[in-house]
Amino acid sequence: MEAAIQIEKLTKTFGSTRALDELDLEVRVGEVHGLLGPNGAGKSTTLRVLLGLLRADSGVARLLGGDPWRDVERLHRRLAYVPGDVTLWPSLTGGEVIDLLGRLRGGLDEKRRAELLERFDLDPTKKTRAYSKGNRQKVALVAALSSDVELLLLDEPTAGLDPLMDAVFRECIYELREQGRTALLASHILSEVEALADRVSIIRDGRTVDVGSLADMRHLARVSISADLAGPPDGLTTLPGVHNLKVDGTHVDLIADPDSLDKVLIALTSVGVSSLKSQPPTLEELFMRHYGDKKGALKGEGPVTP
């Protein structure tokens, strides 16, 4: 089956700024795909190219089997979009905006609309100028989720939502995944992507630096180990693949590359282990791997494996 979204070597420049730099992205049908990156990485630009709002300079972008620039009307009937920065017409009520956007998309499910208003606890009779940021976000979410579309493009959709509403949003995404629908979720909130996404693309400076399921990424990422030993540790400092080693008497904290894990454990048990705690990498750590200590060093490289 053809991918819902297929992007190859997509490049987009604004003046001298290279917003997208040969970006690759594949979103399979039926998956929730996380597009992770910090501010300015190119997430919104990617979504705008997919919506036909921006025209790419080079590269290929395919959306639901069509050309996002040319087949606008046909494709947009099959997708819904939640912008990152929701601005609405101040003189219209939230309910009017939801109906308008739904109708322009080709219809919305009245029952689902009512149910979502209930779940998101949104008053549709208020003029949108009176809404808080979170409430404006809810308007966009209800408008997008109450339509029966195949694909959702979500640009930091939970910005401004409180934790309760965040939970409602997550439920909605679980439901649509069960219905076999596809979503591209652009976010910098790692816990959200961790909870929702089947696969993740990490982008930086307009370029994809890592793709895969979280399990794959974790497998490739470092493990943090904390241990109490029978005596002072021996040989750890010279062992390749050991990072951030901290020794406090007989207590050791370290981070190990996955392929040196075996040797680290041997070195530890040779001294004698009284307690051991090991933690798989969190998404934060995956993220930091690409953005934190190596800031700047990754430029021009492909996906990095340790």
């Binding site: 709002l53 009307e73 912008p83 017409w89 101040p90 219209l92 308008l100 322009l104 009176a130």
Partner: protein, 533 residues
């Protein structure tokens, strides 16, 4: 006073944001006023020639209604500034009201002022800063204008009175805008109300000035724009009338401060009422949305146009009152006919209506750009709405809206005038005179749409073009420009009806030019990126 803390910083911020528009406006206005005064003075070198010209101006209802009377028939300054004086004063008032709304209600509506308000900024600082910037800009415009007037040889006293008159009207309307900015939540409505007040007061003095023969000249005294005229620069130099303008400014700003202190941040005086929970069945297309967004503005314009039509139509009989004066008879002879004096008046007024129609049409089309930069186009274009369909929605409002407004004014002026002269045929003539303006108006709309599609950051081209066309029409003959240059303005090709002969050809090709510009704009828009700024 601690409630003013931060005013200086806000003034600097405002000056930073307006650093281009303010100097450009001030220099262009001062040069325009002085250049037109200089050129007019050249035309009437002798006292006798000035007396003659003044007599015609003071008896022609059209000029009285538009610019007011000249109070000293021998004064070179009074004759040289009778047009650009009042036009300049109104331009300063518009500038002042835009500045005030832009730095108060508009900042509040977008939420930017909230961010600033959280810093060490006193409660009264934003309004004070806006008033200082608007008042300062008005004063500077007045001073620069006075200096350029003196530089081209106008009498010093009169130049200074006129300059301070500009400043006074600017300051008064800065206060009007400070007041209206407290009333509503929407910046658009706030500047609309202040601009509406300016238009109303202009019309009020037009009635007073044009009906002076019927003993109605006191009506002009009800209007701040009339007060400006009563400073009588170069024709008596009445300084004390400036006090009325400043008094109005003090009262209205005090009122604005009181209202501002009583209301919540970002709130208006009227609380928001809940609206419908669901959209009406008709709200299902970009055009329906465009109408919904623009209908308020359109209705305000419609009321204004119908009212202006009644005034213009009603003045036809006072035009005929002047038929007996010898100067008027001379004027008629020059124009070539007895019927033609009221016809000429109507044709000139309808021509003015064409310019104002263009302002409406251009603003309606510019809505495309403001919707785009406010990121409100994005959610619409993310639905199954194509770009051309969306863009055409506001273009349709511009084209049909101008048509409807022309019909409204044509009908109200035509019916009133027909009743006055007792000839129903007058209705048809005036309605036609209104409708022939439309192709030229659509060209201005077309220029705006073309700019939107091809050079969206330079959307201001629409205004530049309209101002250029008006200047060509008003001053082209004065500066003895080549006809080919004057023909650049689409309004130069509009037949003067009633009075003149209807010719179809320019109507057709102006419409074709407008259509071509719109098509060019739409195809440019189809090809470009959607942008935030």
């Amino acid at each position: 006073m601690s409630s003013l803390v931060g005013t200086a910083a806000l003034v600097r911020l405002a000056l930073r944001r307006d650093r281009i528009i303010l100097p450009v406006f001030i220099i262009i206005l001062a040069v325009m006023v002085a250049a037109s005064a200089y050129a007019t003075a050249e035309l009437y070198p002798t006292v006798a020639s000035r007396v003659e010209a003044t007599a015609v101006i003071n008896t022609a209802t059209s000029t009285l209604a538009m610019f007011g009377p000249i109070h000293d028939e021998t004064s070179v300054g009074a004759l040289s500034t009778f047009k650009m004086g009042i036009m300049g004063a109104i331009a300063v008032a518009v500038l002042a009201l835009i500045i005030v709304v832009r730095h108060t209600r508009a900042e509040e509506e977008t939420g930017r002022l909230e961010m600033l308000g959280a810093t060490v900024v006193g409660r009264r600082a934003p309004l004070t800063a806006a008033l200082l910037v608007a008042g300062g800009a008005s004063l500077l415009t007045g001073i620069v204008t006075a200096l350029t007037m003196i530089a081209v040889g106008m009498p010093i006293r009169g130049s200074v009175v006129m300059g301070f008159g500009f400043a006074g009207l600017g300051i008064a309307f800065a206060a009007v805008a400070a007041f209206t900015a407290q009333l509503t939540k929407s910046a658009r409505a706030a500047s609309g109300m202040a601009g509406g007040a300016l238009g109303f007061f202009y019309l009020l003095r037009a009635i007073g000035d044009a009906s002076a023969g019927n003993g109605l000249s006191w009506v002009s005294w009800l209007s701040p724009v009339g007060w400006w005229q009563q400073t009588r620069p170069f024709a008596g130099d009445r300084w004390w009338v400036l006090g009325l303008l400043l008094g109005l400014a003090v009262v209205l700003s005090a009122l604005a401060y009181v209202l501002a202190a009583r209301r919540d941040f970002a709130a208006g005086l009227l609380p928001d009422r809940p609206g419908p929970a669901a959209a009406s069945p008709s709200l299902r297309s970009p055009l329906a949305l465009a109408w919904r967004l623009q209908r308020g503005g359109f209705l305000a314009w419609a009321v204004t146009f119908v009212a202006a039509g009644f005034v213009v139509g009603g003045l036809t009989s006072s035009v005929d009152d002047f038929l007996t004066s010898p100067q008027a008879l001379d004027f008629i002879a020059k124009l070539g006919g007895v019927q033609s004096i009221s016809d000429a008046f109507l044709a000139v007024e309808l021509g003015f209506m064409g310019v104002f129609l263009s302002v409406f049409g251009m603003q309606a089309a510019m809505r495309l750009r403001s919707e785009e930069t406010a990121m409100r186009a994005e959610p619409l274009l993310a639905t199954a709405v194509g770009r051309v369909t969306w863009a055409l929605s506001h273009v349709t409002i511009a084209v049909l809206g101008t048509t409807a407004l022309a019909v409204f004014m044509g009908l109200s002026a035509g019916l009133t005038s027909a009743a006055q002269v007792g000839d129903i045929g007058q209705l048809g003539r005036i309605l036609l005179g209104a409708l022939v303006q439309l192709p030229a108006v659509w060209v201005v709309v077309g220029i705006t749409v073309a700019a939107f599609g091809m050079a969206p950051r330079q959307i201001v081209i629409g205004w530049v073009a309209l101002v250029g066309f008006v200047l060509l029409g008003e001053f082209g003959a004065l500066f003895d420009l080549n006809q080919a240059v004057m023909d650049i303005s689409p309004f130069a090709h509009v037949p003067r009806i009633p009075g003149g002969e209807f010719v179809a050809a320019p109507m057709l090709w102006l419409t074709a030019v407008a259509a071509a510009l719109i098509v060019a704009g739409l195809s440019g828009f189809r090809r470009r990126d959607l942008g935030g700024s």
